[in-house]
């Protein structure tokens, strides 16, 4: 059996990135305030060490945290691939388009205005915010059909308004709530446990196959509107559906991990030159890459400047920015 060179490259890339992800996961479990030797870490992780002294540190603290990071990154990366396809703009991402700030505005409003609101319900609120933002963006960019450029510009406008709302809320609330809100906004994986892992895993498990089914349509949506219609795609319906899927992905990620920027932008860009732009190949590769990025960023954020912990959202911004500048200069 012969494979095309592109498929071979894809296989290699998947293999390497999965390997790296496992490696970073292992490092995330080992490193921290108290370092754990690799062998003990693996034994504890695999459950071979029932009475082990590291059980709590690994199974309750570090492992779920790393998993949440990986899943959130994967979700954001998938959302990024979809958004870049439907806006036909390689610089689109959930952050730029305003999904993140919609989610953040809703969450901050609840944190500041309803002090008794249980933090565990926050994800639902954030998710609602992302959905509202997406609905606004889509309906406002409607002008006898939606256009990718309009979608993008309206998204930036909505994002600015959400930002203004956040600014106002931050001046209106008491300083304690405001501090809490701003930490949440920075995108932190601090204190993430299994109750964050499972909802995220569920969403990804449902949505990832859907994105794969959509991949052929995503490729078609990247052509000009006329071409796509000619190819028999029901353009508008498809665009709405893709947008919905990406909102669900980004919303789930943001609600569990706070606003983590630049991952949805970076992950597809890292993969595209290596394996090409076909969505079928790009989606899984971008997902692993996105997860790897967030896990690595979180690992660096919590180990580089101990005792300070830099929230993962800020780490991804610091890593993502030079990359973004590079993309801008290259064009």
């Amino acid at each position: 059996m012969t494979y095309s060179p592109r498929f071979k490259r894809w296989l290699i890339m998947m293999f390497v990135s999965v390997l790296m992800a496992v490696l970073v996961l292992l490092l995330s479990i080992m490193l921290g305030e108290r370092s754990i030797p690799p062998l003990d870490a693996i034994r504890t992780l695999l459950g071979l060490d029932d009475q082990g002294e590291y059980r709590y540190t690994i199974l309750t603290l570090r492992f779920p945290r790393a998993l949440v990071g990986f899943l959130a990154g994967g979700g954001l990366a998938l959302a990024g691939v979809i958004l870049q396809a439907i806006t036909r703009n390689p610089l689109a991402s959930p952050g730029v388009l305003g999904l993140n700030s919609g989610a953040a505005a809703a969450a901050v409003a609840i944190i500041v205005l309803v002090p008794s609101f249980p933090m565990s319900q926050l994800p639902l609120v954030a998710f609602g915010g992302a959905v509202i933002a997406a609905t606004l963006i889509y309906t406002l960019s409607w002008n006898k059909g939606s256009s990718p450029v309009r979608l993008l510009l309206v998204g930036i406008g909505i994002s600015a308004m959400a930002g203004a709302l956040i600014t106002y809320l931050l001046t209106a609330g008491g300083i304690f709530r405001v501090t809490q809100a701003s930490i949440w906004m920075a995108g932190s994986l601090y204190g993430r446990t299994w109750e964050h892992v499972f909802p995220l895993l569920f969403w990804l498990a449902v949505l990832f196959p859907i994105t794969l089914i959509l991949s052929r349509h995503l490729d078609v949506l990247q052509f000009e509107d006329n071409t796509s219609t000619g190819l028999g795609v029901r353009l508008e319906r498809m665009r709405v559906f893709c947008l919905l899927v990406s909102v669900a992905l980004a919303g789930a990620a943001v609600s569990m991990a706070g606003t983590i920027g630049f991952v949805g932008l970076m992950a597809p860009h890292i993969c595209r030159p290596l394996i090409g732009g076909r969505s079928k190949w790009l989606l899984p590769a971008a997902m692993i890459t996105g997860g790897l990025l967030v896990m690595t960023a979180d690992l660096l954020g919590r180990t580089l400047f101990t005792p300070y912990e830099i929230p993962v959202g800020i780490m991804t911004a610091i890593i993502g920015a030079p990359y973004m500048v590079y993309l801008l200069l290259r064009r």
């Binding site: 703009n89 610089l91 689109a92 952050g95 730029v96 406002l140 960019s141 002008n143 256009s147 450029v149 309009r150 993008l152 510009l153 309206v154 930036i156 406008g157 909505i158 994002s159 600015a160 308004m161 930002g163 203004a164 709302l165 600014t167 106002y168 931050l170 001046t171 209106a172 300083i175 405001v178 501090t179 701003s182 930490i183 906004m185 920075a186 920027g261 630049f262 932008l265 300070y308 830099i310 929230p311 959202g313 800020i314 911004a317 610091i318 993502g320 920015a321 973004m324 801008l328 064009r331």
Partner: protein
Amino acid sequence: MKLRLKGLVILLILVAAAFVLNMCLGLSRIDAKDVLQAFTAFDGSREHLIVRSVRLPRALIAMMVGCALALAGGIMQALTRNALAGPEIFGVNYGAALAAVTASFLLGFSSLKLFAWSAFAGSALVGGAIFALVSLGRGRMTPAKLVLAGATINLLLASITQGILIVHQQSLDTMRFWLAGSLTGRDLDLFIQVLPYLLAGLLGALAMGKQIDLLSLGDETARGLGQKIALTKTIMIILVILLTGSSVAIAGPIGFIGLAVPHIAKYFTGSDYRWILPYSAGLGALILLLTDIGARYVLPSQEIPVGVVTAFLGAPVLIYIAQRRGGLK
């Protein structure tokens, strides 16, 4: 020609009216007569004190900052030939915020003066650099690309600012009001210190109207008509830095005046920048004065920072432009 001149005179009258109104209205309402007497026959009464020490600085700042931001937006749109250029797109506000937060973090104290000058430096650095990059480069960015690039850079600056605020929590409490771009509690002394830079930018921009108009026609045309392009562009970048830097230093980050107002001006004047710029200046002053009044009445018990209100009014303008021009290719 006559008509546009008349319009400008009417605009100036409106600005004057809004200026007086801005001093009259508020939590304690003061008659226009009392406002006038506070200057002609000051008697030390509570009303007169409020007018002289609170209302007057605030109205002055609103007027000048509105002028400056709108002019800066106009120049940016002319030079980049880009309908969606504006100070906020070029990272001026977030650059200022980052600089102010960094300065108070590194130096360990915070005062309005420190915020003002570091914000001036930050906005000049970020805004000037991006503006120069966009306008001096050979390739021309489409409006959508420009906005996207701006949004991304703003996102980055905002995250770094947020990071510093988290590590350095006590500055969050003092900074959050400054960061909202409010006209309350601004310092008149500071305003006077910054004023020369602002006026230099203002007068320079109005004097350069003809050159700016030529340049807005395209590099080739302007060169053909005998303009020294590099020199003009450099002067324009300096003007923009003066205008945006000084307004951020005085009032903190106030968004969307610079992006939206030149479009409103164009609606009245057509595409001649010799008229767009003075109209923008007048309209910018008018709109910020009125917005500042409105910000006192949105919520019953408290004031909303004017920067929040301008964003809520200005973002729809961005959306409207995107709607009207369709693809904006």
